[in-house]
């Protein structure tokens, strides 16, 4: 039976690339309707395009916060992409008034002013050797904000853009990527495959 990652709606339309990437791996992605599905999903994807505050608003208006926080705390198979990773933080300089999910004690900060921002393009990912999911390689990024340090209790990967920033963190079966695995060619497809079809994938 094909695995069905449940995709959390974050208010912006673009989940087509994520869906297409999972279908190429033989999985059948479906959109989440409410908190129960988010709680019960074998595999959950928290994509993210757009602004921090708008995405958090969207999550809160649909009452999804608690279900999301719980499954990340429990280390159940959850993949957070780009803004989705930043949503795990306590807050972001992008929307200072918004309260993030707060499962990691970090704040998302903007890249320094002297850089080309947003970072749009391919960059090297250097994972901790203890990473269960990541291999060293090139990933596609589209971000202006990032986490500055790897939170306690998580294994991470870093990438250099005017200095190192956190390009990925993982704990249990939770994997959060600042890059877009669905747009990162064969390297990204392998990563998604390890997450959804891997041995440790099902809790």
């Amino acid at each position: 039976m094909s695995r069905s990652p449940v995709i959390v709606p974050t208010g912006t339309a673009n989940t087509a690339s994520v869906n297409a990437a999972f279908r190429r791996l033989g999985a059948e992605p479906k959109p989440a309707e409410g908190p129960c599905e988010i709680r019960d999903a074998d595999f959950l994807v928290l994509p993210g395009v757009g602004a921090f505050g708008a995405a958090i608003d969207h999550i809160d208006r649909r009452g999804l916060r608690e279900a999301l926080v719980d499954r990340v705390e429990e280390g159940r198979p959850t993949l957070a992409i780009c803004l989705g990773m930043q949503l795990l933080a306590e807050r972001s300089d992008e929307s200072p008034a918004a309260t993030g999910l707060g499962v990691v004690s970090e704040r998302a900060t903007r890249f320094p002013q002297d850089l080309t921002v947003p970072q749009l393009g391919w960059n090297r990912v250097v994972p901790d050797p203890r990473s269960r999911f990541l291999e060293p390689g090139w990933a596609y990024f589209a971000n202006s904000y990032k986490l500055a340090s790897i939170p306690d209790g998580w294994v991470g990967a870093t990438t250099d853009y005017g200095g190192d920033f956190v390009s990925s963190i993982e704990r249990g079966d939770v994997l959060a990527c600042q890059f877009h695995p669905e747009l990162s060619g064969p390297w990204g497809a392998d990563l998604l495959d390890r997450w959804i079809n891997g041995e440790g994938g099902r809790s």
């Binding site: 673009n14 087509a16 749009l120 960059n123 090139w138 990204g188």
Partner: protein, 251 residues
């Protein structure tokens, strides 16, 4: 640092890839899905599809093309051409575009840029600018495939678009497009110095030296079309040459 991107561009008319010189004399250059997939396999970092259909009916194919290309593409896809309102952009994004490029409609109604950036984020909002050299000095924005001059200064227009939330500039030299005589490096320098968002150089690429010069002039990505469609070279061999010259591209 992020690697410079090599971006094959497919001009699509009525669902078929076409290529012309200075946006004119379009000739058939193949099926978009086959071509996008081939360039992906050659190591393309991203694909741009610009719909150049003259008719509304022709443009209707753009959503369909986007959706078919998305199924095979595991690298970013930008789609532009005929995007006049937020709903047009939404349809392309839902079909599988990662970014949407606006051109003429944004010149006529600059507020469109802010609307797109607010709704989808700056990283989704690409401003395509066609620049024609002026006799005296500088460049003028041209629209409708080069047929209409606007009298607007290219650098000032791009600066105001960046303020409105454009996340990337697709900068085409109208004078060089399809001529294979090299990018307009002065144009790239002028624009890259004026904004801190990424600039994609477009129009005139013939060889790896041209790519290198565009990147040295401040472009973070280069658009390539004719030389790929004509089979003169491949993304792979261009990247090999750039690597030999010490430019770190994604292998």
């Amino acid at each position: 640092m992020a690697a410079p991107r090599l971006i094959p561009c497919l001009d699509v008319e009525n669902g078929r890839v076409v290529k012309g010189i200075r946006f004119q004399n379009l000739r058939d250059a193949g099926d978009p899905v086959t071509q996008a997939s081939m360039y992906q396999d050659q190591g393309a970092d991203e694909i741009v599809i610009l719909d150049v259909s003259a008719t509304l009916e022709g443009r209707g194919h753009a959503v369909e093309t986007t959706s078919s290309v998305r199924q095979v593409l595991s690298i970013p896809l930008t789609v532009g051409g005929g995007v006049r309102k937020v709903e047009d952009a939404l349809a392309l994004l839902e079909a599988g575009a990662d970014k949407v490029a606006v051109n003429t409609a944004a010149v006529e109604r600059p507020g469109l840029i802010s609307q797109l950036a607010k709704r989808f984020g700056s990283q989704c909002t690409v401003l395509a600018v066609d620049a024609a050299r002026q006799d005296n000095d500088g460049w003028e924005v041209v629209v409708r495939g080069g047929r209409t001059r606007t009298g607007q200064d290219v650098v000032r227009w791009i600066q105001s678009a960046a303020t409105r939330g454009a996340g990337e500039i697709l900068l085409t030299s109208w004078d060089r497009d399809g001529t294979r005589s090299g990018y307009d490096v002065e144009l790239i320098e002028a624009v890259a110095a004026a904004v801190d968002i990424p600039v994609i150089a477009s129009g005139g690429a013939d060889n790896a030296d041209h790519l290198e010069r565009a990147l040295e002039s401040g472009a973070t990505a280069v658009l390539i079309a004719s030389i790929l469609h004509d089979g003169v070279t491949t993304v792979d061999s261009l990247k090999k040459e750039l690597l030999l010259n010490g430019i770190e591209v994604r292998p």
